[in-house]
């Protein structure tokens, strides 16, 4: 058994070298085939690269699941302006811990993906925006970038192809909202990381006012494999609408938490029971958040029926998001955990929109009151009402992200709220 844990169910395409520090050096990475595809991509027509990615059905791994090839095709052609590619390595959604691992174990895979994507969308400059806390990951990445520059893999006339692409690692300074694509652009430009109103969309007016594409780390890391082996190869895994493999970040009350790369469509129950060794201490499962803290909570019944592809999770009452599976056993205090998540959003709201700025704070206060045994049943109605008003009314979806866990937990775990309200009894300890 390697890298904290692995499983025979895994298909390790992106995570093949997790746990193996030799892939970090350029020499090691080249021995593992990195940058072979770059040469191949540069010999292809730029639009053909976009077509392969489109045909593969690769969907954005940053949360929204938007088809990557389609996004790339929005970029203008021959407009004579500089274009930018931004790689979103701000990874801050609670429950998500895949991008950091992709960067620190296999930085050259990401760099190669960035260069191929930049070539396809006609970008001359790539910025990889790492969250500020990633000192280690960004140091490893920065070192890899430097090595690649020295070897002529980044910069002018890459591999003698005449293609010129620069790549810069940019470091954030601690703000979840900078993961939102337009917030990230503002932050990159040296502003407060507050999201922008769309339209205009980034492909028209993005970073520094120029056409820009933004993709998640995992999305870009998949690109070299797709260009190397083709769309059909990638489609051997997953479902028609959600093809390929995906990193699942499992945390919480399982015996073996960690990153597991599995084909999309994998059964959630099997992920918990077999891949992760089941629930700790032989406890029973209570709830799962399948896609990071901003998606609805599922109960055990929904979990049993759920297959982990974008459509499958929606059918079971939640969303796949960035596939951050947070597992909670019977000892969990749902109200406390929902309050903790709401507190997070209140802390991270950028403050531009009133429903979000005021709503996140109110919701947190009401939840705290209930948790302290001072709540009333009307508080539950108020929570639903307030979160309703926070949905679809703001510049970005951070505000909606509070509604999902709050409303779903009130519907699915109402008993726990009522127990606290009526008798001041906590259901769980954790």
């Amino acid at each position: 058994m390697a890298y904290p844990y692995t499983s025979e169910h895994e298909v390790r395409v992106l995570s093949e070298h997790f746990g193996d520090p030799t892939a970090r050096t350029l020499e090691g990475a080249r021995a593992k085939g990195r940058y072979e595809t770059l040469r191949k991509a540069f010999e292809m027509d730029r639009d053909d690269v976009i077509e392969v990615v489109k045909a593969s059905g690769l969907r954005g791994r940053g949360g929204a699941g938007f088809p990557t090839g389609v996004k790339w095709s929005f970029m203008p052609k021959d407009d004579g302006k500089p274009h930018y590619l931004l790689c979103n390595a701000d990874e801050s959604e609670p429950g998500t811990f895949k991008d950091r691992e992709l960067i620190r174990w296999d930085p050259h895979q990401l760099i190669e993906g960035c260069l191929i994507a930049a070539y396809a969308i006609r970008a001359q400059h790539v910025y990889i925006y790492c969250r500020g806390e990633f000192f280690e990951a960004s140091a490893i990445l920065g070192r890899a970038v430097e090595e690649a520059y020295e070897a002529g893999l980044i910069g002018r006339d890459i591999l003698g192809s005449g293609v010129e692409i620069d790549l810069t690692v940019h470091i954030g300074a601690g703000a979840y909202i900078c993961g939102e694509e337009t917030g990230l652009m503002n932050s990159l430009e040296g502003r407060r990381g507050q999201p922008r109103v769309k339209p205009p969309f980034p492909a028209a007016v993005g970073a520094f006012g120029k056409p820009t594409t933004i993709n998640n780390v995992e999305t870009l890391a998949a690109v070299p494999h797709i260009v190397e082996h083709g769309a059909e190869w990638y489609r051997q895994w997953g479902t028609e609408k959600s093809p390929g493999t995906k990193l699942f970040c499992v945390s919480g009350h399982v015996k073996r938490p960690g990153n597991y790369e599995l084909p999309l469509g994998f059964p959630l129950q099997t992920l918990i029971d077999e891949v992760c060794g089941g629930i700790r201490d032989g406890n029973a499962l209570k709830a799962v958040i399948p896609g990071g803290s901003s998606v609805p909570i599922m109960n055990a019944e929904e979990v049993a029926a759920c297959s982990l592809d974008y459509e499958g999770v929606v059918a079971c009452g939640s969303m796949l998001g960035c596939a951050s599976v947070i597992v909670m056993d019977e000892t969990t205090d749902i109200v406390k955990q929902v309050r903790r998540v709401a507190y997070f959003y209140a802390h991270e709201s950028c403050g531009q929109c009133t429903p979000c700025r005021e709503g996140t704070t109110w919701v947190t206060k009401i939840l705290q009151r209930i948790e302290d045994g001072r709540g009333t049943e009307e508080d539950l109605d108020t929570l639903v009402e307030v979160t309703d008003q926070m949905t679809g009314t703001t510049i970005c979806v951070l505000s909606d992200s509070v509604a999902a866990p709050v409303q779903s937990s009130i519907t699915k775990f109402r008993d726990e709220y009522l127990a606290l309200i009526r008798r001041g009894e906590r259901v769980g300890a954790a």
Binding site: F135, H170, I171, G172, R280
Partner: protein, 217 residues
């Protein structure tokens, strides 16, 4: 817990398979003289780390820091875009961003003073006042919380005899609650200066603090 999670190997996993120093992570040749000289303009080595040794009165952007500052400027089409990394550089030297440090950055980047303050206060990683030599940030967000992060936070507070955000009497430690650090599968995650400590349980706390005092990083 019966099937205890292994330590995540890497720089972070202090108790894991490898126990790398900052120098090893950044490349031995990158630490010491080289990162200060800046190395390749694109490389991260000229970015700031959080150091235990610093001086709130130290001169800003002199000597090697001048070079690093200039390298940062070359990476963006506009001067303003260098603001975040430049603020981080100032904090590496002085430990926090005083109004005077922010004013100096504003002057260098030709930005209004109030603008720089507005940006600096938006981001949590800029310390607006002095903190201990070691800033201990304990993630208490959901995944860590489910696995006992509140107890880990309490253990750090007890061991350092402080309240959250307060600096210990010897000036060594400031312990604060942090939001998700993107290491949720290795709970509890604690960031101490630039380094992640993963799978931390309350029992590990004394050993971690002792190690830090000894190694100074």
């Amino acid at each position: 817990m019966s099937d205890a999670p292994t330590k995540n190997p890497g720089w972070a996993g202090n108790t894991g398979e490898f126990d790398l120093t900052e120098a090893q992570v950044r490349g031995d040749d990158f630490v010491g003289t080289r990162p200060l000289e800046g190395a390749h303009p694109a490389g991260a080595p000229s970015y700031a780390f959080m150091r235990a040794e610093r001086d709130p009165e130290a001169p800003l952007f002199e000597g090697p820091y001048q070079t690093r500052f200039e390298k940062l400027l070359t990476r963006y089409p506009e001067k303003r875009a260098a603001l975040l990394p430049v603020l981080a550089l100032a904090q590496e030297v002085r430990g926090h961003l005083s109004p005077e440090s922010m004013a100096r950055v504003a002057e260098l980047l030709e930005l209004p003073d109030a603008y720089v303050r507005g940006v600096a206060t938006f981001y949590t990683m800029y310390n607006k006042r002095e903190v201990g030599r070691f800033l201990v940030q304990v993630c208490t967000n959901i995944s860590c919380n489910l696995c006992g992060a509140d107890d880990v936070l309490a253990a750090f507070l007890r061991a350092t005899d402080t309240e959250p955000g307060e600096t210990s009497a010897d000036g060594d430690f400031t312990v604060v609650e942090a939001e998700c650090l993107a290491a949720c599968g290795f709970p509890t995650c604690v960031q101490i200066n630039s380094r992640y400590y993963e799978n931390v349980s309350p029992e590990d706390v004394p050993a971690i603090l002792e190690r830090i005092r000894e190694r100074g990083e």
